[in-house]
């Protein structure tokens, strides 16, 4: 009971901290960076749902992120649609692409799935890059509007954007929490642990994998739409392979298949790369070995390692009290 209470306190204080952050640190630049980090976190939560909880490593996440971003951009800039309608439609369009691609991709397993989705991501990049009559290609899509005002609430200032993105992030985390802790989520986890066993327990693996995959693309679409409205300029590079590996790094460092991992991993890496900016591209010389060490010595990431440490402690406690009773 005390653990639950502590957890609740921790969550509340983190939320309060995030709300107060801009007041303590009125530096526009930091607010900008944190807003971006929140957007990436949303995409990582999607990736974590299919890869961490369902066991299918999808490397097309940046592609779906870009589909979300371009959907919003094209609908507002070229089709002249109102912002909020476009903002609702963008993730849905992304999910439809996710459904169609998932139907084919999920027929493959393990490495083949990873390679297949990597290719899908690259194809999405190529389409955006080459189809310049629709997407403006390498010139990029400019003049995307920021979220329209709702009554007295304005989202055009960096502060307004920050709070808007933060609220969406909270909503996403809440949704993922609900899903992971439901019967549906339990089916996902069963598939991750052993697909053969899950199926022999009567779980329709294809249906569940597809649900998880479409959800992951939905969250990628949300993140993409937020990105487009925040930066207000998008180019094909947001769907490039390096972006996928950034997302993957955030997830692995934080803890794959954990609820708080994506948030912790993304914030930590973004903060680190900001502080190592003076090293320019040599930053990778720091990240590379660090990441390699992490995967070798603690594949569960920060949160995963914390969990196994807790488990070990509990086990030791149990054994100790057991021997005392005897």
């Amino acid at each position: 009971m005390r653990v639950i209470l502590n957890k609740k306190m921790l969550i509340v204080s983190l939320i309060v901290l995030a709300i107060l952050f801009p007041l303590f640190v009125p530096n526009q630049y930091y607010i900008h960076i944190l807003t971006l980090a929140f957007i990436w976190t949303i995409a990582v939560y999607g990736l974590n749902l299919i890869s961490g909880f369902t066991g299918y490593l999808s490397l097309a996440q940046a592609g779906f992120f870009a589909i979300g971003a371009y959907s919003l951009g094209l609908l507002t800039v070229k089709a002249g649609m109102s912002f909020w309608l476009a903002f609702i439609l963008a993730p849905l369009i992304t999910s439809i692409f996710g459904l169609l691609i998932g139907l084919v991709a999920l027929r493959t397993k393990e490495h083949f799935f990873a390679i297949y989705t990597l290719c899908v991501g690259y194809i999405i990049y190529l389409v955006i890059d080459k189809w310049d009559r629709l997407t403006e290609g390498v010139r990029g899509l400019m003049g995307i509007p920021s979220p329209a005002d709702i009554g007295p609430i304005s989202f055009s200032t960096p502060l307004g954007q920050y709070y808007f993105v933060f609220v969406v992030l909270l909503l996403v985390i809440f949704l993922v929490y609900r899903i992971v802790n439901s019967l549906t989520g339990r089916s996902f986890i069963a598939i991750r642990n052993s697909e053969q066993l899950a199926q022999s327990l009567g779980i329709s693996t294809m249906k569940n994998k597809l649900t998880s995959f479409v959800l992951s693309t939905f969250f990628a679409g949300v993140a993409g739409a937020l990105y487009a409205s925040f930066i207000r300029f998008i180019g094909p590079e947001i769907s490039y392979t390096t972006v996928v590996f950034d997302l993957l790094t955030y997830m692995i460092v934080g803890g794959i298949g954990t609820l708080s991992g994506p948030l912790i991993g993304t914030l930590l890496i973004v903060w680190l790369s900001q502080n190592l900016q003076f090293l320019q591209d040599y930053r990778m010389l720091v990240f590379g070995p660090l990441l390699t060490m992490l995967i070798i010595f603690s594949p569960g990431g920060i949160v995963g390692s914390f969990h196994s440490w807790q488990l070990k402690r509990q086990e030791r406690k149990r054994l100790n009290t057991g021997s005392l009773n005897n």
Partner: protein, 254 residues
């Protein structure tokens, strides 16, 4: 007929793993399938439980042809199975492993998950109750909160049993349930298997431990090179020349 295979055949390329097997499983009894290594016993199980689909021949369950059903649909019909290697998730607790077993009898979907509907809560409760009940049944009430990695091999086998029982099966297929555990523990597991049969769950198992099989089985089928070479009561099988030949290679001195 409860469960019946007729002329069941499975070919993997040029290899015929199962060749025209006719067999019927007796309801409420312990049915055993024995045979030398590579005889096709596990393949036979896989064909019935939908892991593989037969090249020809059919599987009937309560008169219904289930040979083309996918594995998850077969489980819903009330046919459940364990695997040779226990497929449990080592990092989770015993309870967490078993709680998913009753999922196939629930209907909650993504909508229920997101809005945490009444159905989701009720069915979630139902799954938990079921898990605790089957864990008690297999004698693991004491260790429900232990991580699977820290329990014994025999206990893992019991967890696998609990998992199949949580699906509310009418018939369970146990693929070498006592492989890799000592004689003492084998004895204890046999008692559990007999208890299941006594309470009306039909059991069909693959085993190598002859003494155990001969003591507990009501009906035995012997497979060799994918073909049925004998069928009947343990007494009948013990004195069957073909069986002795398959196991000992022609010399009937055993």
């Amino acid at each position: 007929m409860f469960l019946e295979t007729s002329n069941l055949t499975k070919k993997f390329g040029g290899l015929t793993a199962i060749n025209g097997v006719d067999f019927s499983v007796d309801k409420g009894k312990i049915n055993a399938i024995i045979g030398p290594n590579g005889a096709g016993k596990s393949t036979y199980f896989n064909l019935i439980t939908g892991v593989h689909h037969p090249s020809s021949g059919k599987v009937f369950f309560k008169g219904r042809d289930i040979s083309t059903f996918p594995a998850n649909k077969i489980a819903k019909q009330g046919l459940s199975r364990t695997f040779q290697t226990t497929n449990l998730f080592e990092k989770a607790t015993v309870f967490e492993n078993v709680v998913v077993g009753h999922r196939l009898r629930t209907k909650s979907n993504l909508f229920d998950a997101v809005f945490r509907t009444k159905r989701e809560k009720e069915e979630g409760e139902k799954c938990k109750e079921k898990a605790l009940k089957v864990l008690e049944y297999v004698g693991l009430s004491e260790i429900t909160d232990m991580v699977v990695a820290n329990i014994s091999q025999e206990e893992k086998k019991r967890v696998a049993f609990a998992l199949t029982l949580a699906t509310d099966p009418e018939i369970v297929f146990l693929d070498e349930p006592t492989a890799g555990i000592n004689p003492d523990e084998t004895e204890k597991l046999s008692i559990l298997i007999e208890k299941m049969a006594h309470e009306g769950i039909t059991v069909c198992l693959i085993e190598h431990k002859m003494r155990m099989i001969m003591n507990m089985a009501d009906k035995i089928m012997v497979l060799d090179y994918g073909e049925k070479i004998a069928e009947g009561t343990p007494e009948k099988i013990k004195s069957n020349d073909e069986v002795i030949e398959a196991y000992l290679g022609g010399d009937a001195s055993a």
